[in-house]
Each structure stands twice: as structure tokens, then as C-alpha cells.
């Protein structure tokens, strides 16, 4: 096995003379961008060249999540062809392997990489390909265009740290509340969300235990979309609320059952078979609705107005092994 220093070595070209972007190579995959597209090329299992084209704004929005989430739980499909599967120390990169037709035709490619190698490549690609004024985390109505020739960068936006409470938002030595002063103003679409904090009446000495915070106010100040934070933790039960607007930039194929609790407004979900991509169901979620995404599905959401979604994840490290052994249930509950 290569030394970590080698693993993090990124294979990249000089910037294109006209377009200004670098190309990247990772194993048998090549990536280049132009004004409108990300182009991915590979050699198929049966040895032929194949290519795929994605709108570069959609590609960068997907890449942003994959990078920011450390490849997340399970599969992150950028679209119906390309994506990654997280094995938590290594990551599969594939084209066509979870597309029923392409897989059957033998034209797919899947390669496993040490996490640090693919992470380093993706991070550099994201940074090189993201122009000044384009924020892949922002809602489409709140950012400029991803298109055109290379102009500047937006490193600050794409390297935002994920906000992860250890126990609960607002506790001493834990994730702070969001405020104007901390650069988190209320989003335009949540201007009507009350900003009051809970009435707390701690007896002396119990100030850090008699604790509550306004979750909806906290979420109304989220600067990003489709990017869960941790706000409260019970053992390995993580409340991962997030604010959603427009389209989830990835099609998530979780390796475990994942629960959604819609806290306001609405999201429409397309659910499809994880392995083949075939449509399975639509899930229309309104304020107060709860739904589980079975572990055999991939899901992509559409949020017409910025909305608050509570993603509830089981982050138990044992679960990874149970999933590998096939002991983890694919459906949320039997009844």
C-alpha cells in the first residue's frame, strides 16, 4: 500500500489555455470541465472508451456535498451514471455501475480508492472548477452562475466547516447559536420565523443543564442548502436538520434506513431502486410528516420554498459491520 503522502497526490494537468480549468485523473477516470459541462471519461469493463456529460453547476453542487460530507453514508449519486459509495476508509468511484442498463451491458467502471486519495482529488477539482460568485451550497436564487471561463475562486464558500454539535447546540463548549454577529442572518425565506429563545428558569448552578434553544430560529439562519448539521445527539442518534431549497444535488443511496421529519413547508421526493435506478415511489412531505427512506432506495428531493427538514441518522459504527454482514434491515419497521 502506498504511503499517505502518495495517496493524497493529485494527478492534474496545467490549466487549459482557453478555458482556464485543470483536468484531473483518478485511476481509470478522467475529469475535465468547460464553460457548461463536466466531462467524465473512462474505459469500460470490456475495454472500450466511454464518456458522460453533466451540467457543471449540477456537477459542482453534487461534488460539494460529497466533499463536505466526507462521502456521507452509503452512495452519493451525482446523477444516473456517476457517483461514489463510502466504505468509510475507502471509497468506490463508479460510472454506470448503478445504472441497470449500463451495468448489464458491461460498460460501467468501478474503482476503489483510499479515502484520502479521492478526497484530495475531489477537493482540488472543486476548488479549481468553482468560480468567484458561484456558491455550490447556496440556493439557485441566491448565487451567481457556475458557467463560463475560469474567473477567480470561491474557496471560502466551499471550505465551510460542517456544523456538528457534540451534545446540543448552545451548550457551553458546544456548537454556538447562529446570530447576525456570527455571520448568520435570517434567510429571506424564513423572515417570518420567530426568533424568540425559550424561557429558561434554571436554579443557580444548573445554567448549563436547564437548556433549550430555538431550533427553528437556528435553521432560519442557515446560509446553505441540503447540508445537514448535527444539533442534538443521543448516543449515536443524530438529529441532522437542514434547510432545503430547489433540488437535492445528489441522489442519495443510503446504506441504512434514513428518516425524514418535515418541520415546515414541503418537499417532494423521487425514490428509485438503489441498484438499477428504476422509479419506486414519490413521497410528498408536508409540515409534520414523517417518512423513512428504505435502505434499498435512492432518493432525491425537490423543495419549492426553503423548508426545514430533520434528517435523522443512526451513526452507530457497528451498523457499518451489520450492513456488510447483511444483518441490517432494509425497511424501517415491520407491521
Amino acid at each position: 500500500m502506498n504511503a499517505p503522502a502518495d495517496l493524497a497526490k493529485v494527478i492534474t494537468s496545467q490549466p487549459d489555455a482557453d478555458l482556464g480549468y485543470r483536468s484531473f485523473e483518478l485511476g481509470g477516470f478522467k475529469f475535465r470541465r468547460d464553460e457548461y459541462f463536466a466531462h467524465i471519461t473512462w474505459t469500460t469493463r470490456d475495454g472500450r472508451p466511454l464518456s458522460h456529460t453533466m451540467d457543471v453547476a449540477n456537477f459542482l453542487r453534487a461534488l460539494m456535498r460529497d466533499v463536505a460530507w466526507g462521502f456521507f453514508y452509503g452512495g452519493v449519486n451525482f446523477d444516473h451514471v456517476i457517483g461514489t459509495t463510502n466504505h468509510y476508509k475507502t471509497v468506490d468511484l463508479y460510472c454506470g455501475s448503478y445504472n441497470g442498463t449500463m451495468k448489464a451491458a458491461g460498460v460501467d467502471r468501478l474503482e476503489n480508492f483510499p479515502t484520502e486519495q479521492i478526497a484530495a482529488t475531489f477537493q482540488q477539482m472543486l476548488d479549481d472548477w468553482t468560480n468567484e460568485g458561484f456558491d455550490p451550497f447556496a440556493a439557485p436564487q441566491e448565487t451567481g452562475t457556475a458557467y463560463g471561463r475560469k474567473r477567480g475562486n470561491n474557496t471560502a464558500a466551499i471550505t465551510r466547516a460542517r456544523e456538528l454539535a457534540k451534545r446540543c447546540v448552545g451548550l457551553k463548549d458546544d456548537l454556538a447559536l447562529r446570530t447576525d454577529e456570527r455571520g448568520a442572518p435570517v434567510n429571506r425565506a424564513f423572515a417570518d420565523v420567530p426568533q424568540d429563545q425559550p424561557e429558561l428558569h434554571p436554579e443557580p448552578g444548573f445554567e448549563n443543564e436547564v437548556h433549550a434553544f430555538n431550533l427553528f430560529a437556528f435553521l432560519s439562519r442557515s446560509q446553505v442548502t441540503w447540508n445537514p448539521s448535527f444539533t442534538s445527539v443521543v448516543k449515536y442518534s443524530y438529529m441532522c436538520p437542514t434547510t432545503e431549497e430547489h433540488i437535492l444535488p445528489i441522489i442519495h443511496a443510503n446504506d441504512r434506513v434514513e428518516w425524514f421529519f418535515q418541520m415546515c413547508d414541503e418537499i417532494h421526493w423521487d425514490c428509485a431502486d438503489k441498484t438499477t435506478g428504476k422509479p419506486l415511489a414519490r413521497v410528498i412531505m408536508k409540515a409534520g410528516d414523517m417518512a423513512a427512506m428504505p435502505a434499498y432506495c435512492r432518493h432525491q428531493g425537490y423543495s419549492p420554498k426553503r423548508s426545514m427538514l430533520l434528517v435523522w441518522e443512526n451513526g452507530s459504527p457497528n451498523l457499518v459491520y451489520e450492513i456488510q454482514k447483511g444483518e441490517s434491515p432494509e425497511v424501517p419497521v415491520q407491521f
Binding site: 446540543c168 443521543v234 428518516w259 421529519f261 410528498i284 409540515a287 414523517m290 420554498k305
Partner: protein, 168 residues
């Protein structure tokens, strides 16, 4: 352009439920329910499980009047989705605490909770409160409200999936 938005929350008195639209799957696999619908059909403080993942659950409670005193060996969190709910906390003395530190889920405190008063808080819609492990806590709600509990499945958890979920 200056447009104003209306953020749509639900409540016991006013909610609209979505649905699963199956294409080629069993709707039961989506365990689709609605907290306001559940709470509108529950008795006060029934701990109705409406999300579960191994040992972990999300429970939906109709908050109405005073709840019993609970305690739990691990932290829990209460998120208010409707109404105004007070949470009263007592630093429970060791004999009344859950003796098994690994025990999942809340239990009723046996007898009157003994220990220092820690204080109380008043949670409105969107407020989330910590229920620290090994304390005794009680909900008080003058009018019906809805509380979501982040906890583990325990002795008091009630499962009635077929009643709460979309089945076809």
C-alpha cells in the same frame, strides 16, 4: 426584488398531510405518518414511536395537562411542534435513578421524585430542550400541544404502526 415568504408550519388544529405515491413499491416501507395526526388521536403523553432505527426512536407525544415524572439513563431531547410546554427538572437522587446505566428509554419515576430542583423551561413551537440523563422531568401543558422526543426505545414506548402509517 422584495418578496415576502410565508413559512408553513403545522399544528393540531391546522395541518395538511402529504402521502406516498407508490410507483412500484410497498407504501408501508416508507412508514409515512404525521405528528399532528398522531397526537390528535393519542391520549396525553402516550409515547408513540413514529421513527425507529435499531435502539433509537423518535416519539410523538400529545402534551396535555401534567405528565408523569420520567427519568432516563441517557440524555433525551424534546422538540415542541405545537403549543407551549413547560419542562420541570429535578436532579434525581441516586436511589431513584435508573440503576442500569445502559438501560434504553425513559421510565416512570417511582413515587415522588426526590432531589434538588434544577429549574424549568417553557418551550414554544420550534424550541428544543435538553432532558439530561438521570434527572426527573415533567411536562406541563395547559392546552394540547405536540412534542417530539429524541430518545431510545424503552418500556414506555408504544408502537402502533398500522394505525399511524399510510398502508396503501
Amino acid at each position: 426584488m422584495n418578496v415576502s415568504y410565508h413559512t408553513k408550519f403545522g399544528s393540531l388544529s391546522n395541518y395538511e398531510k402529504g402521502r406516498v405515491e407508490p410507483i412500484d413499491d410497498d407504501v408501508k416501507h416508507y412508514a409515512f405518518s404525521n405528528c399532528f395526526e398522531i397526537a390528535s388521536k393519542s391520549k396525553p403523553y402516550e409515547k408513540v414511536v413514529f421513527g425507529q432505527n435499531q435502539i433509537y426512536v423518535l416519539e410523538c407525544l400529545r402534551a396535555e395537562g401534567e405528565s408523569p415524572w420520567y427519568t432516563c439513563a441517557h440524555d433525551e431531547f424534546a422538540l415542541v411542534m405545537d403549543g407551549e410546554v413547560e419542562v420541570h427538572l429535578i436532579q434525581l437522587e441516586a436511589p431513584q435513578q435508573v440503576s442500569d446505566a445502559d438501560k434504553n428509554g425513559a421510565v416512570l419515576v417511582e413515587g415522588t421524585p426526590r432531589g434538588k430542583k434544577m429549574g424549568w423551561m417553557k418551550l414554544k413551537r420550534g424550541h428544543q430542550g435538553l432532558l439530561p440523563k438521570n434527572t426527573a422531568y415533567q411536562f406541563r401543558s395547559a392546552k394540547p400541544g405536540v412534542v417530539i422526543l429524541q430518545t431510545c426505545k424503552g418500556d414506555l414506548s408504544i408502537e402502533r404502526w398500522a394505525d399511524i402509517c399510510q398502508v396503501q
